[in-house]
Structures are given as C-alpha cells and as structure tokens.
Amino acid sequence: FGVVTGIDVDIIERLPTPYGLVRYGVAPDHPEVKNVENDFAALFENQNDASSVSYYGNVSVGKDISLSKLQSLYDVVILAYGCQAACKRLGIPGEDSLEGVLRAREFVAWYNGHPEYGHIGSIVQKCLWNTSGDDERELDSSAISPARVVVIGQGNVALDCARILAKGKPGLIDTDTPSQVLDILKGGVSHVSVVGRRGHIQGAFTIKELRELTKLKDEGNNATFIVRREELERGMTDSSKEELKGAAGRPKTRIDKLLQDSSKLYHSSDEDSKKQVELRFLMSPVSLVPKDSNSDRVGNVICERTKLEGEAFNQKAVGTGETESFPADLVLVSIGYKGMPLEGMEESQMFDQSKGVVVNEHGKVFGADNLFVTGWIKRGPTGIIGTNIMDSKDTANSIMSFLDLKNNNAQPQSSSSEDESESLFGRNGLEEFLKSNNVEFVNWEQYLRIESSEKEPSRLRSGDHPREKFLSVEDMLIAAKG
C-alpha cells in the first residue's frame, strides 16, 4: 500500500481538560505564564496535509487502556505525565498524623480548582477560620484570618502559596481562581512564614517570584514583606560569596541585592499592615507539634537554627542546637514533587524509584521497544516551562533516529499478513478500542466547549474575570457533550 509522509500525533490525557500544570499548577495571578496554551491550541487548529494532531481527554492510561496496548497500536509512545502523584517527605514527627498539615502540591491544586482536590477546601477553611472565635458565616469576604501559616521550603511553589494566602479574595478577584476558593480565603491570612533550611543564596526560588512578594504592599494587598538582615548575614559565608561570582552568579547576586534592600525597608509604619509575609532562612523544621487545646491539630512547627558548612555549591545546613517555635494553624510542605511509575511499570527496570523518573537515555526508555519519555518524568521535577523546550527537542531527536532505523530495517509486507489489515492501527485502533470499552473520551472540539462554557458571562464574577472553572469531571463532561 502507498507510503504516506508525515507524522500523526495523538495526545492522551487523564482529565477531560488538557495542559496539565499550566491549568492546575501555574498560579492564577500569573496569567501571562499561561499564554503557552495558545501555542498548544494552535497545534490542533493549524493542521496540514502532511500530519495531524488529535486530542483524547478523559482517558486514563493504566485504567482505560494499558501502556502495552498503546505500544502495540502506535509506532512510538511518549510518556509526558509529569510528577503529579507524590512528594518528597520531611520525615519528621507529626508530618502524617496531625490535621492541618498539607502538601503544597495539594494546596496549589485546590486553589486552581483541580477536580480531585476539592476536599482540601474544608481543611483550609477549618485551619483559617475555626479558631477565629467569630461565626465564620458572619465574616465578610474581606475578613482577614488570624491564622498563622508556615510554608516549609523555598522554591517558587512555596512563594506562590505565600502570595496567594497574602492576597486573598481582593487580590485575586480578577483572576481565574475559582469563586469557591476565594470564599474560603476571604481577605487572606495575617501571618505567613516561609522557612528554608539553607541560606538565601541557596533558595530555589527565582527573582520574579521574590519581587512579587516585595511589591505586595505597594500593590494594595495590605501585606508587608519581611526578611531579617541577620539571617542574610549568616547566609553570606565565604562559600556563598563564591557562589555569587561570575556570570553564572548573576541571578543570585541580584536576588541577594533585592533581599538586602528589602531588609532595610521594614520600619515601624509597616506595623499598620494587617498582613505579614516573612522569609526565614537557616531554619530547619525538626518536628510538628499539636495544639494544647486540640491534640489532633498542628499547633507549632519547631525549627532548629542551622549554619552552612562546606564548599561552594555543596554547602550543607548543619544544626546548631538552637530552636525556635513557629505557631502554625496550617502547614504547607513544599519540598518537591516526585514521579511515580505507571500501572504495570512498578516491577520493571524501567522506573528509578529513588529519583522518581523513568530510566532513559536522551528520552528513549531502556528495556522497552518503542517507548520514550519527556518532561519531568524524564529528568525530574525541576525547571520552568521553558526548560521543557530543550528537553522535548532532545526526545524528539531520539524518536526521529529511532524511526529512521525502523524505516531502514523495515521488511516489505508479505501478502499473508491479512489479519493485520483487520486490526486497526494508530488513531483508528485507539478509537475502536476506546469505544468498544465504553470509554467516554473528549475530543478537541468537545474540550473547546468546556472552555467556552467556563467563559460564559453568566458564570463570571465580573467583566475582568477570565473564567469560572468547572470543579468536577462530571460538570466538564456535561459541558463537553452538550
């Protein structure tokens, strides 16, 4: 039969909606970061004769269709499912047993309206409002919670959490934060402490997110940003100074300067701010202890003061024995995501349990014929959206080499393989399989219906409100099929 040029790509996603962390990870007050959606949407809109891209939402690989079935239907299967399911652990007392301790990942998914994290809302509500002494229903939407929140970790996710808690409904009203979330956050929380065990030079956050915290007050959020000069000085070891040198040290040098300038700005007039966000450095959490009044709930985070020891780029935070107790009504643990194997992959050599990644070389998975991997599940949960551009080029290159080889080695089809023409391959095979197994997949057009329903004026808070997300898969499917 005829040789057709071009590549057809099918994208399979567990939720009805695509985009992953762009929809459920990127903070709602960072809409410009979500602009990449337009490039992704263009893949589906701008098709040409040589190749095509199709979308299959609401299909769970491992449950609705096995990975091995996919591998048999397609020339190449690429895993790009990220690190959604698990997190690194602190390994300290109280981490698992106390109420009011959440993974930052869950908190983020909740404030972004992820359909599987709605239950986080009642936990946050209890932490923020049950100890206020006021009947919560009486409080208006700008009431500030007296709760004290401790965020453990200092990556961009930790800073996002702090900023969202500080802004509350007034600061987020024109974003796509779900209304149910804003009703729980109300006017924000009065105290957020973001603690990191190493110094400010070693923090994983980038300057953009830090700068936003320094601007909270000027932008009308009634929240002061605090860093302690003393902690900046403690963190400026000789090794840290080494880390600032040269062109590679430029980003950290600018972060240091911004923090130094911020530490000078705090003065008594800031006492008028109703809210406070502080970054605390060289503080390592050693245990979570319950409230005196209720032994099921977290009450304090005990931290040990650390000092940095070691060579540049390899400094370790060593305990000094000095401790400080942080009162906490809500604790968000933000120390990193972790990858998980797909169903069926657990026992194989394909998955590196300690790193939480699929074992691969330039994206080609070891021990599997036509399996490739890209993104966080390939290299671990680090980097920004743009990092994936290089990563995907690397994997795409491996795929093209693989296809070249396959092409060159292809045997001519013999006429006796008639049963192969009976079973469908690729997209047709996938659809036939899904339909015969009653899997209700969502195609691109149907996703667009979800999108336009979310933007329906009757759902929106105001003319500036970009969309009111559906908070359940059921509601998404109704909109998709309607």
Partner: protein, 160 residues
C-alpha cells in the same frame, strides 16, 4: 477521608506513522510558529504592540547554526514579532509578556548601548536565559528603529 494517594496523570503522547521517506536523522528543526499576536484578543495592549509605520529597515538575524537571514523589519515593531513575521525561528513562549526568556537575542555592543534601559522585570527574565551575555536583551521588549538599518542580531543557542 479520601485517600491522598493518586494515580499519576497519564498524559501520553503517541505517534502513529506510516513509513516516512524523508525522515532525517540530523537535528530536527522546529518550524517557526506564525505570529500569535493577532490570535490573542485578550492582550489588552494589542493595538500598541502591533502599531508600526510602513517604513522598514534591513536587519539580519543570525540563527544558532550561524546562518544569516536578512529581513525587512517594520519600524516600531518588536523584534520578536518581526522574527515571526519572517519565519525566523525565535520562540516566544509567553507571548511577549516578560514571563520567559525564550526570545533571547544578542546584540553588537554599539547597538546594545543605544537600546532603552532594561526594566527590573526584563532583567529578572534574562537571569533565566541560557548563555546570557553582556549584550543580551529580550526580543519582545525591543522595538525596531530607523537606526537599526543594517544591524545583525544573533539568536543564541537554547541549550539543546
């Protein structure tokens, strides 16, 4: 209480392909995306961004492989948009809103010195650029001027 252990999201991209007769084993080239500016009505300052006189000057983009691409650039347009208009491979992942560093461009010193000062926000994004130089800027922030006639601008490697 619902179990918090979730199954991983299975976003699996699958490729179905008939044999390619032109599969290349060399580095793949990602084709330039057409300018997305006009497809984003939500960009509040759309009018401002696309304003330009009809006057053009000649500027040359040097791509990561060293190949030169002279183009006619409309005065007043941002260098990112000019690249897209002329099918030059220059990523602009965030659409020109200072939320990424993918439109990173490197200028000659004498041209760089004439450019308007960087904002903190542009500097913050440049911090993340691969192989940042002393004369680096983001293409979405620099508008073409008449004085750009004849200049060459380098598109640096993106790390791949």
């Amino acid at each position: 209480m619902t179990s918090l252990l979730r199954r991983p999201a299975s976003l699996a991209a699958s490729i179905a392909m008939r044999p390619l007769h032109q599969a290349k084993s060399s580095k793949i080239k990602v084709s330039a995306r057409p300018s997305m500016v006009f497809k984003r009505p939500e960009l509040g300052n759309l009018g401002l961004r696309s304003f330009s006189s009809k006057e053009t000057v000649t500027i040359t983009y040097i791509d990561a492989s060293g190949d030169e691409h002279p183009v006619q650039a409309e005065v007043g347009k941002h260098l990112l948009d000019v690249a897209h208009d002329n099918n030059i491979e220059l990523e602009g992942a965030c659409g020109g809103e200072l939320a990424c560093s993918t439109c990173h461009l490197v200028f000659d010193q004498d041209v760089f010195d004439t450019l308007p000062t960087k904002s903190d926000e542009e500097e913050d994004m440049l911090d993340l650029a691969f192989e940042l130089t002393e004369t680096s800027r983001l293409g979405c922030q620099i508008r073409v001027t008449k004085e750009f006639d004849g200049i060459k601008i380098r598109i640096p490697d993106d790390g791949y």
